[in-house]
Symmetry: C2
Amino acid sequence: MTEHSTPAGRRSGGRAGRAAMRAQGVVERVPYLTRTMKPFEILSEEALSAIEYAADSVLEEVGIEVRDYPEALPMFARAGAIIDGTRVRFPRGMCRELVSGNAPSQYTQHARNPQNSVVIGADHTVFAPNYGSPFVHDLDQGRRYATLADFQNFVKLANQSPWLHHSGGTVCEPVDVPVSKRHLDMVYAHLKFGDKPFMGSVTAGSRAADSVELARIGFGGDLQDRTVMTSLINASSPLVWDGTMLAAAQVYAENNQACIITPFILAGAMAPSTSAGVAVQTLAEALAGMAFTQIVRPGAPVVFGSFASSMSMQTGAPTFGTPEPALVLYTVAALARRLGVPFRSGGSLTASKLPDAQAAYESANTLQPTVLGGVNFVLHAAGWLEGGLAIGYEKFILDCDQLGMMHTFVRGLDTSENGLALDALRTNPPGNHFLGTSHTLANFETAFYRSDTSDNSSYEQWSEEGSLDASQRANALWKRRLAEYEAPPLDDAIDQELVEFITRRKAELPDEFA
Amino acid sequence: MTEHSTPAGRRSGGRAGRAAMRAQGVVERVPYLTRTMKPFEILSEEALSAIEYAADSVLEEVGIEVRDYPEALPMFARAGAIIDGTRVRFPRGMCRELVSGNAPSQYTQHARNPQNSVVIGADHTVFAPNYGSPFVHDLDQGRRYATLADFQNFVKLANQSPWLHHSGGTVCEPVDVPVSKRHLDMVYAHLKFGDKPFMGSVTAGSRAADSVELARIGFGGDLQDRTVMTSLINASSPLVWDGTMLAAAQVYAENNQACIITPFILAGAMAPSTSAGVAVQTLAEALAGMAFTQIVRPGAPVVFGSFASSMSMQTGAPTFGTPEPALVLYTVAALARRLGVPFRSGGSLTASKLPDAQAAYESANTLQPTVLGGVNFVLHAAGWLEGGLAIGYEKFILDCDQLGMMHTFVRGLDTSENGLALDALRTNPPGNHFLGTSHTLANFETAFYRSDTSDNSSYEQWSEEGSLDASQRANALWKRRLAEYEAPPLDDAIDQELVEFITRRKAELPDEFA
């Protein structure tokens, strides 16, 4: 087993650190993935055009309902939309023009540690942890409500992992803190316990504004128009955008902060049950939401998001890792590329309550399309359990190892002279093994990805070591990682200013738990 | 949970059966997959050409060692190879011409039940179970040596599953039967307890001949030159073909039976540690082996096989489901397409000793490249554990469910008018769910793949039902399937002739256990 923890505050740990990593077979950390292969395509241009035409028909004929945010209506109207009460209808092509004509195809999200800044879009992929779970799960205590301590633990684990590029947002809901004040503690945890990029609060316009203010302090007092947050704005499918989300999106766009505009769809309930229908509705809803950000501030960074799960038609429960969401992902990824904006989808999703075989099959069946489909921003890349209701400590560790494998995979096949190994093949006689050849010795350290959670030993050795399954090994790993955690440096004056801001805001805000 | 068992001897169970399957959300059984999407490509034409050039250099300069089969040397010589003792060197392009110029790009492997015949090659994918394990594993008894009873159980389970297209070969080693007689009981089990296509014995030329004779009887006394077996011929990497395998390949090719010519490579030990080097060596070894079959009988069906695993550089143990074998698979699949022959690789591979999260991640990370890379024949698609040393009952059930999902995935996205669901989107008001719409009702039954091993219920319901993990649910399933198993019809006279042949051969053969 190797340790993947990165020395605090340093990306590579210097020359000694790099040598140590090579000796462990660990590839040097990169701040985000750059894929060398073209995305997997499942549809023809004609089929994609048909989906686009249908989405435009929905926007033109049905339109979008804007709930509890009358401010948005005149903004949409000025941009060319037709307003009918709270219904907003869009002339064919209007949203596409607003988005393609203004939104950047990629943008840099700056991190507090500049070595951790990420590029979101194009051939790049950024992995961020689980988001939004009210429960946590571990092997020792089972499932229980998440607390702020859990939240901080997962920020620490994410910051340590060389395979997560982003600290995420609401990695879990700290339900021991009032809803009205939670966002302050969450953003502070990302700034205090991590130095990777993170997400802001979206549960109210005022909380988005607090997030921007905390980020401003955390980044030294002046954002200088830099994008330092990428935040999650969900539609209320079908075809509704509500005031809470639009207000948060407006605050972020005004401040040049990125929004991920995501129709969150359980197919068959919040959308038609057919996968192409899900893609049509997703495109329509996302176009309207992305257009809104470009009306607020042309050129503000925006990400096309898609979260689509299937439904158990017996129980109505959401299902994950099944073929239909994979088909939707590949499809919507292609639609996002045609729009020219970054794309968010996928993750390591599962309906399982445990880090068992179901969880792993379903997660892998989500992560594979995520990477092969060319997703740019991957929320829920580690920890997700139970359809998102829980984040698991062991699951987090197991998923991170899978993300590590993707770092190797996306580099593709090395067909250099050393890669082809023709000299080794020429000089090694038939029937002789390659273990001691100079080519093997030269490539030994970096030849293969080394999992830190898999057991590849003999049955006998594995039995002697206690016959542990993967989740039991992961249980020991997360405890060791937390014990070894070191906080990245944070200027004392900045820390003090953050704490003062939070103290003041908490005094101003009422305690609300729902 | 749904039951996927197919009524014995019928493919679809007739109209009532089809209606029952629809009601369970089960797509109608197909005898093999036909992929609608193009394979995922990771390399440019130039990179693939570089690998081909290097493989030809190996064949020309180093050549292949032919061990314990002097008969092959003059055959190779007559075809244009240069013989030096037991070393066979091939002029550049010779093997490629023999293979591309003679071997079919696809062929039909006939099954005893014609409805189960499969097409191997082109856009088709055939799933076959695990092969070659001396051990079996289940949750009740743990790991133990496999017996003939286990072998028969897995043939029954494979025949029942709508997601396995093939009965396989040595699904496990029946170690309670002498090695010298084992092949007779194995081929008989495939004919008696199943009616899907199967594989013959390859552990001696005489056992291959016995397999052909049993198949002849089983298919009614005359094969009429039909291909009814596809058998596994492994190289002794690096760059050695041994007499046992060549003798078996010769028997099969002479009888127009298919061979899968497979370099079986643990990278770093039996090949260079670099993935491109593995691809070069795999191509060289496979070209020589496939050329041999075309020298024996031009036009005999042959499959380009590749089995490549990585190695733990700490322990030397093979590893599975890691990124390097996936890169090799995508690469060699493209090389096989350029040769114009069917391709075998992949499966549901893992080094785990249990049907745990490791097993599932690794299996999914093998099966995804298998399907997306366009593999035509997939051995080890269900049951594999512990690097192939064991076949697991629960793992078999869990893997079959994954294969079922691939049946839905490869059909791709339906962008018909019904698929796009524009009318449903037009008529369903924003904010209203789609559960009761006529479109949902019309598509309800077949909307989503229904897993029979996943639990998607609420945490509370799952807890009430015993908090079972996936392997525990699979434990109940394989027992129920075996209890429900019905043998497909087999003509009594044929059965008797098979038994007589086996009895006679067993009397002729000595008891050998090694």
